[in-house]
Amino acid sequence: MKSVRKSKIWMLLSLSIIVSFLGSSLLLGCNNTEGAVTEESATSGESLTKEEPSEEASLPYDGKELLISGSTTLLPFVEPAAAAFMEEFGGSITVNGGGSGVGVSESINGINDIGSASRQAREGEIEEATKAGIELVEVTIAYDGISVIVSKNVSVPELTIRQLSDIFRGEITNWNEVGGDDAEIILASRDSNSGTFEYFLESVVQIGKSEKDNDFSPMILSLQSNADVVNTVTTNDNAIAYISLGYLQEALDKGANAVTVDGVYPSVETVQDGTYPISRGLYNYYRKGDLSEMGEAYLNFLLSDEGQQIALDNGFVPLNK
């Protein structure tokens, strides 16, 4: 008896849910179809004037597709650049994140058309590519500085590379050892997927690869994106982290402080003239002989003045011309 009653109630419940879903989706559906109908009639009306279709046909890459994946650091540059390219030349460009490692490995495995990376391809990856009979072509598309940010309450204005290395290796654990208050240092880092992680490891923690056994402290928080890092530093006290220059303005707006490294403040100018010590190239990779015409046009667009302006507008450092 009990089970019968139960199943009845279940049926009623699920029925009512289904009905409400159906009802709402029907309503939405109606709206949608109405919208679609009006749009269609509008376009068909315009097509009579014969202006729309000719304009659309003038875009050279309509119907073509390009898949870009990789560095999340590069997203603020790649996404608007792709949008600008599509507006100007048509076609459809899909931009995925995933990290520099994903960008390179998907290029090797033939999944994407262009892989973006905020570091150079590693030896292991190049080996993997040659094993698969593929030659990766590297294009430097911009430069980036890595800025060091600290929480609002931290009053340390400058650090040296050596101090940063000691801090991120866990040798220095208290802010008073570098001239701050007596408080434990919270280390925020990216996960090892990130090109920024890799670059910071080599250039800062390992002091430009001169101390190759240096490793991040196990106390680091591994966060999933630059935005996560900014969020963690701005919502907590006593934290230090490194982020791409492209995210610095957002971090400052949210209340973080930037630290000068070896006495130089991170900015587009100091990266471009080479005085800021933690800067790197940003790269795109494609398989040799496997880049479509559209892909080539896209890369040329990135390197053009217009593309480099987009890089500058989004906090990256344009290539020196």
Partner: protein, 300 residues
């Protein structure tokens, strides 16, 4: 003529039964085959790691640092996973069993019949959503209440995972409590025991194997959960025995690092290796739980 038609019909029916039973049989076999293939895939991909990396260094290594010097110490991940899971069980079990007893024994019919479906619907909330909610609510809460410098801790993960496992624990425990024969309750009441004594001396002990199964299934979900812990435990591969510090779990490590690895490399293989360990742990938990579930079926 009529009997011939009847004969044909029955023959057709026998054939139909034969077909359907074979179809069902194949479906059943497929799930076993798929499970076997998954296991084989895990073993195959982790072979390179286990054959080239010293097993003792893996199982007793205290440092997980795949990018520098390729150190694959399992202890920090193990401690992280166990810590988060243990905390979640500590929170979820008393709460879950309490709710199950309320629904099964005390609640008026109307309350029971609305509450249980609602709790079961809770189980369908995607873990990434719970992770996000946890990031915005539990993490600052834990940070403020213990005045920590950072709220991304094992405890935050435990709280969210406890919520995630509650529907499983409540629903199955309540089934077990419901399955206790009324005769036992009546006999207990007739002997002069009050409602409370009947509940905790007769009903709960009788349903205990079912409740244990519920806890084990909840534990299986907790250990295997990825997205939420990735978002709110801080992923710091340190070895700590405190709930108020960031930890890194096995699942989060796989999810965070898989994208970067060179396919076929040692790191890639190592991630499959810890995946294999994880698979074995959750498989054993669910297997044990299943044994207990069968035991209640046998009682009834």
């Amino acid at each position: 003529m009529l009997w011939m038609e009847k004969f044909k019909k029955s023959k057709f029916r026998i054939f139909k039964t034969f077909l359907i039973s074979k179809f069902v049989f194949i479906n059943g076999i497929i799930s076993i085959v798929v499970l076997g293939l998954i296991l084989a895939f895990l073993i195959y991909n982790s072979l390179k790691f286990f054959s080239s990396y010293p097993f003792f260094d893996f199982i007793s290594g205290t440092r997980w640092s795949p990018t520098v010097n390729e150190k694959f110490g399992f202890v920090p991940l193990m401690v992280g996973s166990l810590e988060v899971a243990f905390g979640a069980i500590l929170i979820a079990v008393p709460l879950g069993i309490g709710v199950a007893i309320y629904i099964g024994e005390l609640a008026p019919r109307l309350v029971r019949e609305t509450l249980k479906p609602i709790i079961e619907v809770l189980a369908t909330i995607p873990s990434v959503v719970l992770g996000f909610i946890g990031l915005k609510t539990v993490v600052p809460f834990v940070k403020n209440i213990f005045s920590l410098s950072i709220g991304l801790t094992a405890l935050s993960g435990s709280i969210i995972l406890a919520f995630m496992s509650l529907p499983t624990i409540i629903s199955i425990s309540e089934d077990a409590i419901n399955a206790v024969p009324n005769g036992l309750r009546n006999a207990s009441l007739a002997l002069g025991a009050n409602k409370w004594e009947t509940t905790y001396k007769i009903v709960v002990p009788t349903a205990s194997s079912g409740i244990l199964a519920a806890v084990m299934l909840g534990l299986g979900r907790i250990i295997g959960e990825t997205m939420a812990v990735l978002m709110i435990t801080g992923n710091s591969p340190r070895i700590v025995f405190s709930w108020l510090q960031p930890v890194r779990t096995i699942t989060a490590t796989i999810a965070a690092e898989m994208g970067e690895t060179v396919q076929g490399g040692l790191h890639y293989s190592a991630l499959f290796g810890i995946g294999l360990v994880l698979f074995l742990v959750t498989f054993l938990t669910n297997f044990t739980a299943d044994r207990f579930v069968n035991r209640i079926r046998n009682i009834i």
